[in-house]
Symmetry: C2
Subunit: 560 residues, 2 copies
């Protein structure tokens, strides 16, 4: 398993250390990292050897083929200088990208002839050339086109580099890869990406993701490449604005986890399977805001032990902590021990409390005690957590992979203080959401940043709201403008009741969603009570900006 | 002058206050802001009146026209509910966007007929409908198409809303707007944008900018609209991820400045013209790092007065300050008093030191004393400043507008700790650059964040580097990998000398650029010495990542 240094932030040495610590076997050395490094290629070679890393590829070499003779001469001189570096570095394969140069002409025979020449020069030094079709190459922009040229050149030191992004972003059919002989696939680069409708070059340079974080079918792609008989490294090459500025140690671990999940899907690694989940056994909140416990009581919870609270089918642990936050999510596993082993295999480090997730929450595995009791609340619908904007893709992948959840469609909405991304995953019983600012927030945003919440299920949201409000629960008031708009948009039959009880409403093609919230406690955590009618699939995200504005008002009022 | 509330961050009340303080006369009320507000429409009307704001538009109303009868009935009901809100609000114009609904059909006659019906309903209440072609409208996506429908509908309460983004993003010809009668242009919305090759909906929703910050010809566009005889508001409607989370008071001032600059170009406002500049009279640095003054001496500077230093044609003021930074840029104006008046007209607040720019630097205006003297340095080539990533577009516009500079092509490069945007503006004598992280940085990046620098000009960079190094100036060492790559890329004839003196090199079609840097002083400021050969236009940005990595090394070494 290998990774390109361009995936990570820092200097070359920062990157090599991070890559080795995360357990990779090899690296692709990205030229810019080497150029900016004070280490000579020879020292880099020694450094990699010390760290147990092989140098699997030197990249990229650009704009070589299908050019007039004078340009060819200059390009060969340039290549020889790079072969000098590679020789010192001990790298035997160079990536040559299909040309984007205005000097190039559209002539496959000429491209093949000149690549043959380059492969000759490489072979003289015991090196080889991996030719890659960039999705935005001037004339060669698909893998099958690059393969036709490589086949025509027919040189043992010339083969292909296949990159999932370049193939899948263009809608290429990976099944066609299977016709390529294994000894002609010199290298395999992997990147996922969200489906974006934008210039493919910008998409590639800014928005790639690690496998499993985007929308591409990496399993199918790698499956096709492996079907050729390819036995070289699976190597990650991810250009991503956020990863470029994040802690490389953390990014490297996340990258390795994503590769493990991919290998599991391909049957290349045997991880403990994710056991089926039976829902939540509870969640834990740390706080020292007394109002939180008061509202628990008003919501109908009662204490069942030290720090343990229950209301119908919903249980919660409250412990005293300096800052209010959701400290643990306890899920009911059909095999808690295997759940823990799976987490460990996915690079988590379980302790006596459970598995620490990248967002700081502990994931604990228990078994479901049959605790169904009387009460308005029947359990936990979802837990909404937070992660820094630059860690959320990795964090979400962690939860999905460890718990065996499926990603749900991502939502994005304009909140009062900026755009918010909402990622969620579910197996139908356990739902975990992460709501994060799209960009790191500016300083100005007042009031609540990054609130977390626990959403309890109820069979009757209107009744629950009435009863809880009557008990003095600090529930959020929603203004009339919302209901006037709701009337114009969806005209729910029970509009007056929704309005009277400050219950929010949404509808999709499967059903309805009624939900209401408490105030925010300890500047961080609130409770939501939700009722799903029919098969409604979402989380009422359309109402989130209204809820957020209402939370700000209630905080201003409470702080007076 | 008007602005849509969607341009700004915060709750509706935050926005209204910011808009009024910045001197706008009116607002477009964005529906989501109203829906999330606890203020009733009537209270919002009163609030606007108190703040001296007219409500110029209520927006948006979506997916109305060219639908089957049952959908039409529902849409009319929906419209009546919104007219109720508008009546309370005292808004008389509603924006109706061309439909993106799957319910709509491609039938201009039907669209015209149904819009006529809507206009009738509006007219009954003394209101009017401004129909706008979204650039991604399902059937109607150009202004001329929307105009054909409005003309066909022939209702006095039905007219057009023209939005510069929707017209210019599609490459529409604004000159064709001049055929539309003035009484049919109900509203004019203005937004600029960078030229991006991406889905136009995403481009519009995330990347709009205020006029003058992007690549669109707003002057030509507004000129065409005014040529119809349009006398309504010029209203800004800018959806931008960053502005959505920035301090609305600041954004509103920046928005107003951008509108003033646009109006100046159109001859609609008479601002003091920017006087020609003669270059720099100096710059001022605050520091308490003694190494900075030592290096000044080694660079050949000598004191000419309290805190004043000179070397040949370059002058500098060093004052003692707690944090090291460039505190002032002093430019030589042919009319300093007019320069100051211009700054004031552009919403700056000059004090006795000069004009405070949004990035915290003071811009001072002096007159050029003829100080040419002996020395290796001949003056200041450019000053490179910093601004938070979410303020840099506004900051750059401020410098351009106040100083009368022209924007140069924007550069973007991968630095060791993340992507960096480099914006610069110049009049050929004064060059101001801003280098900022593309995203707010993560916490991990060690060493230098946001360094500033002053670049002095020299006629011979190699000689200057030798002399300064001999005098003990703390100059940056550049590693061999850079020169080996330079040899492969550009093969400069004086490679050995460049290498021996750690001088960086670049070349464009106009000439060459030789440059070298000192260490960073006080964690913030360094000096660069640059030689332009021929008409080289850039700033050697290609070498920035190498310089940054070298700066990190030198800081680690110095901190040992």
């Amino acid at each position: 398993m290998s990774i390109a240094t361009v995936c990570l932030s820092g200097t070359l040495d920062d990157k090599l250390v991070a890559v080795a610590s995360a357990g990779f076997d090899g690296v692709e050395i990205f030229e810019n990292d080497l150029v900016a490094s004070s280490l000579s290629p020879k020292r880099i070679r020694e450094r990699c050897a010390d760290l147990g890393l092989t140098i699997d590829l030197y990249q990229p070499f650009r704009d070589f083929e299908a050019v007039p003779p004078d340009v060819l001469a200059a390009n060969l001189r340039r290549a020889e200088r790079k072969f000098d570096v590679m020789a010192e570095l001990g790298a035997d394969t160079v990536l040559v990208c299909s040309s984007v140069s205005p000097d190039a002409v559209d002539d496959d025979d000429l491209a093949a002839e000149q690549l043959h020449l380059l492969a000759d020069r490489a072979a003289d030094r015991g090196m080889r050339v991996a030719y890659e079709a960039l999705a935005w190459g001037r004339f060669v922009d698909t893998f099958d086109h690059s393969w036709r040229i490589v086949r025509r050149a027919a040189h043992p030191a010339l083969g292909l580099c296949l990159d999932s992004f370049h193939v899948l972003s263009r809608g290429g059919d990976p099944a066609a890869i299977r016709v390529i002989p294994a000894d002609k696939v010199f290298f395999l680069q992997l990147a996922d990406a969200p489906r974006l409708r934008m210039d493919v070059l910008q998409w590639s340079r800014h928005h790639r993701l690690f496998p499993g974080q985007g929308a591409f079918d990496l399993t199918g792609f790698v499956g096709s490449v492996l079907a050729t008989g390819y036995t070289g490294p699976l190597s990650l090459e991810v250009f991503n604005d956020v990863f470029r500025q994040s802690d490389p140690n953390r990014t490297a671990v996340d990258a390795m986890r994503s590769l493990l999940v991919l290998k599991e899907k391909l049957g290349l690694v045997d991880l403990p399977r994710a056991p089926a989940l039976d829902g939540y056994t509870g969640t834990e909140i740390a706080t020292h805001d007394p109002a939180l416990r008061e509202t628990m009581t008003a919501l109908g919870f009662h204490r069942t032990g030290t720090g343990r609270w229950r209301q119908g089918g919903a249980t919660l642990t409250i412990r005293t902590g300096a800052a209010t936050r959701i400290t643990a999510v306890e899920v009911a596993s059909t095999d808690p021990e295997r759940s823990r082993r799976r987490a460990e295999a996915l690079l988590a480090r379980p302790d006596e409390h459970g598995v620490p997730a990248p967002d700081g929450t502990t994931v604990a595995f228990g078994t479901l005690a049959n605790v169904a009791g009387e009460g308005l609340l029947t359990g936990i619908d979802h837990v909404s957590l937070t992660a820094p904007f630059d860690d959320v893709d990795q964090t979400a992948l962690f939860y999905r992979a460890v718990l065996g959840l499926t990603a749900e469609p991502e939502a994005e909405f304009a909140a009062p203080y900026g755009l918010v991304r909402s990622l969620s995953a579910s197996d139908g019983r356990v739902r975990i959401a992460h709501n994060v600012a799209m960009l790191r927030r500016g300083d100005w945003a007042p009031a609540v940043t990054d609130p977390q919440h626990i959403a309890f299920t109820t069979a009757d949201a209107l009744e629950a709201a009435k009863a809880m409000r009557a008990s003095g629960a600090r529930l959020l008031d929603i203004g009339d403008n919302y209901y006037d708009d709701l009337d114009a948009r969806l005209a729910p039959p029970n509009l007056d009741e929704l309005r009277a009880n400050s219950v929010l409403y949404d509808r999709d093609e499967h059903g309805e969603y009624l939900h209401f919230s408490t105030d925010i406690f300890g500047d961080r955590v609130f409770f939501e009570i939700v009722q799903r009618v029919g098969g409604y699939l979402g989380y009422g995200v359309v109402n989130s900006p209204v809820r957020m504005a209402a939370h700000r008002r209630s905080r201003l009022r409470n702080s007076r």
